[in-house]
């Protein structure tokens, strides 16, 4: 069974072809011979030493390789489908900040593009709009409340008859 990662947002399939005598992996079908213990902060891939630094914050890995930063997450089984669906139904925070105003309450109908919540981050105000027509099912934001990036601040459900 291939192992799937989201590397910088794009899926990467990694297959373990063999682990002895050397670790042999296939990344999106391309084969690599990997020596994971080439030294501190180093691996050897096809004989080439690759230096890197890594940090793991929550479920996200940050990697720095050759002066470039990569972000990787595990692609969860079924997670992509569920995430996509809730993305359409969710009013999400694009950056961490504070809730300045709540324009719509739970139960209120909204049309696509209508402002649901105004947020503020680093002294910049931004309206978060409804991603589609619907009714506010759950309002998770409170005026004056703070949130992290990607927090879901409101959830929509479809209008009746849709």
């Amino acid at each position: 069974m291939p192992f799937t990662l989201l590397l910088d947002g794009e899926p990467c399939e990694i297959e373990i072809l063999a682990r002895q005598p050397r670790l042999l992996l296939a990344v999106n079908g391309r084969t690599y011979l990997v020596e994971p213990k080439a030294g501190d902060g180093m691996v050897r891939i096809d004989g080439e030493t690759v230096a890197f630094a890594r940090a793991e914050i929550g479920e996200t890995q940050f990697l720095r390789i050759a002066g470039r930063t990569h972000v990787a997450q595990l692609a969860r089984q079924g997670g992509a489908g569920g995430g996509g669906g809730s993305g359409v139904n969710a009013v999400k925070a694009p950056m961490p900040g504070l809730v300045i105003r709540v324009h719509k309450q739970a139960g209120e109908a909204v049309v696509r593009g209508e402002a649901v919540i105004t947020i503020e981050s680093m002294k910049l105000q931004m309206a978060l709009n409804a991603p589609r027509d619907g009714v506010i099912a759950t309002l998770l934001a409170e005026e004056g409340g703070s949130f992290d990036k990607d927090a879901v601040l409101a959830l929509l459900v479809s209008l009746e008859g849709e």
């Binding site: 069974m1 192992f3 990662l5 590397l7 910088d8 990467c12 990694i14 373990i16 063999a18 682990r19 002895q20 670790l23 992996l25 990344v27 999106n28 391309r30 690599y32 990997v34 994971p36 213990k37 691996v43 891939i45 690759v50 890197f52 630094a53 890594r54 940090a55 793991e56 914050i57 890995q61 940050f62 990697l63 720095r64 390789i65 050759a66 002066g67 470039r68 930063t69 990569h70 972000v71 990787a72 595990l74 694009p94 950056m95 961490p96 900040g97 504070l98 981050s121 680093m122 002294k123 910049l124 105000q125 703070s146 992290d148 990036k149």
Partner: protein, 494 residues
């Protein structure tokens, strides 16, 4: 000075600038006291300081804005002076006055000077009165109908600003008459929110201008010098991200004219301590006074690196009463210096702030580098404070060397756990227009496509994917589950 200027100084700030000030205090043999919100009890500036006092507030920022608590902390620690750093209370005239009234020394200008320069209108009027050029403008008002009528008359493009604002907050460019009403309404509401002053004003917007500023020092008795100019044209969201000194390819006569104008303002104000006079410079060589910042600037290190002058030391000595000889020539400059602001933000998403945690921090060191920071591994990066995490400063005998050294240093800088602009800064520095010194404040948007993240090569991507997989516990489990008899999987990360 033979004896230390003060026995102890309290730093009314946090982050890299608090650490920067403590470094000079240490070098001068002056004891240091820090203040911190309880959320930052383990912060680097707290650990560097001789002692630290917790200050409280509804939010961490509110604590650092609470002048009464900070003055009480200074009294409690026996500090004789307060260094305000930049931001927070550094340009708050009321705070500067309260510090003096508490019997302490404020390491900065007189409160009257702060008040004069803190209001953009009084500052402009002051500059215009002594013959320093200012851009055509509409005076500030809260009357929006009157404002839009008069603003429309001076023509477009227009720049709308909060009268009491600063740091680019609440500034809007209006290019057409039909956008004016909405822009004015938004600017006034933001001005009221952020500065508790709803007055806005507008001025002619110079397209593709350069931001040139001049560092000055004054002793308050009429002795003033300038420490040459800095170029701060590379900006995003109206805020600087790359600064350098000297400004590249500025004609010598123009450079002299701009520095002389700055000196004239400092002299007329009988300026005390360190300050910066900011100008915008049009492609036609016309320049206009923008504002005067009555404090140490974020980008002061580039001036220090080309002049060899420690500006924090100069601030402290002036505050302790040191005089500058009248008509002192500007110091000689040596080479070229560049500063990059390392910010927790995503350049691919319009530079929106990012949150995270400092999971890994490693930075290069060299005689020509300075890494100014207040970071600790494990520290959370939240929306509580400004997204600027650190500053990297490079020096070289010439601009090209300074750029190359900066690119090399940025490549070596490892700051993982939050999305930053480090890789973006490398692309800016390496852009042919940047290397050519072809700079203006619209640089970031004008070169947006060229500065976008280039796709990674297939092999580099695959290497990254392999490293990411090796870092996943789930992947390790998969490898173990792969049926093979002689497995010895000792290589997984701890």
């Amino acid at each position: 000075m033979n004896n230390p200027a003060f026995s102890k100084v309290l730093i009314a700030n946090r982050g890299e600038i608090a650490c920067r000030v403590i470094r000079t205090l240490d070098a001068m043999g002056i004891a240091s006291a820090a203040v911190h919100h309880p959320a930052e009890a383990a912060a680097r500036h707290v650990r560097m300081a001789g002692e630290a006092v917790a200050i409280h507030g509804d939010t961490p920022v509110a604590a650092y804005l609470d002048g009464a608590q900070i003055i009480a902390a200074a009294k409690a620690t026996g500090a004789e002076a307060i260094h305000p750093g930049y931001g927070f209370l550094s340009e708050n005239a009321g705070f500067a006055q309260a510090v003096i009234e508490a019997g302490l020394t404020f390491i900065g200008p007189d409160h009257a000077t702060i008040a004069l320069m803190g209001d953009k209108i009084s500052a402009r009027t002051f500059a215009a009165a002594i013959g320093v050029p200012v851009a055509p403008s509409v005076l500030p008002t809260e009357d929006l109908a009157d404002f839009t009528a008069r603003a429309g008359k001076i023509g477009f493009p227009l720049l709308i600003k909060a009268a009491a604002g600063g740091g680019g907050k609440g500034m809007i460019i209006v290019r057409h008459a039909d956008e004016l009403q909405a822009a004015a309404t938004r600017a006034a509401s933001e001005a009221l929110r952020y500065f508790r002053d709803g007055r806005i004003y507008a001025e002619t917007y110079v397209d593709a201008p350069r931001h040139i500023e001049v560092q000055v020092l004054g002793d308050g008795e009429g002795g003033v010098i300038h420490l040459h100019e800095r170029e701060c044209s590379v900006q995003r969201r109206f805020q600087k991200i790359i600064e350098e000194a000297p400004a590249p390819d500025l004609p010598p006569s123009l450079r002299e004219e701009i520095c002389a104008a700055a000196l004239r303002i400092a002299m007329a104000a009988r300026y005390r301590n360190a300050g910066t006079v900011e100008f915008i410079l049009g492609a036609d060589g016309r320049f206009f006074f923008l504002e005067m910042n009555t404090r140490l600037q974020v980008e002061h290190p580039v001036t220090e690196m080309i002049t060899g002058i420690d500006l924090v030391r100069a601030q402290i000595e002036i505050a302790a009463g040191a005089a500058l000889p009248a008509a002192l020539p500007a110091p000689r400059i040596s080479g070229h210096a560049i500063e990059c602001r390392i910010c927790a933000e995503d350049p691919a998403r319009d530079f929106l702030p990012e949150s995270g945690r400092i999971g890994r921090l490693a930075f290069p060191t060299a005689p020509w580098l300075r890494f100014e920071h207040g970071l600790t591994e494990g520290q959370a990066i939240t929306a509580d404070f400004d997204p600027m995490l650190a500053k990297l400063v490079s020096h070289g005998p010439d601009r090209e060397t300074a750029i190359n050294r900066m690119i090399e240093a940025l490549k070596q800088l490892t700051l993982l756990g939050v999305t930053t602009n480090i890789d973006y800064l490398i692309r800016v520095l390496d852009h042919p227009a940047f290397r050519a010194g072809d700079l203006h404040t619209g640089f970031v948007s004008a070169h947006g496509a060229a500065l976008a993240l280039p796709p990674t090569g297939r092999q580099a991507r695959d290497h990254a994917a392999i490293l990411a997989a090796l870092g996943c516990r789930e992947f390790a489990e998969l490898v173990f589950a792969t049926p093979e008899p002689y497995a010895s999987m000792g290589f997984w990360r701890n």
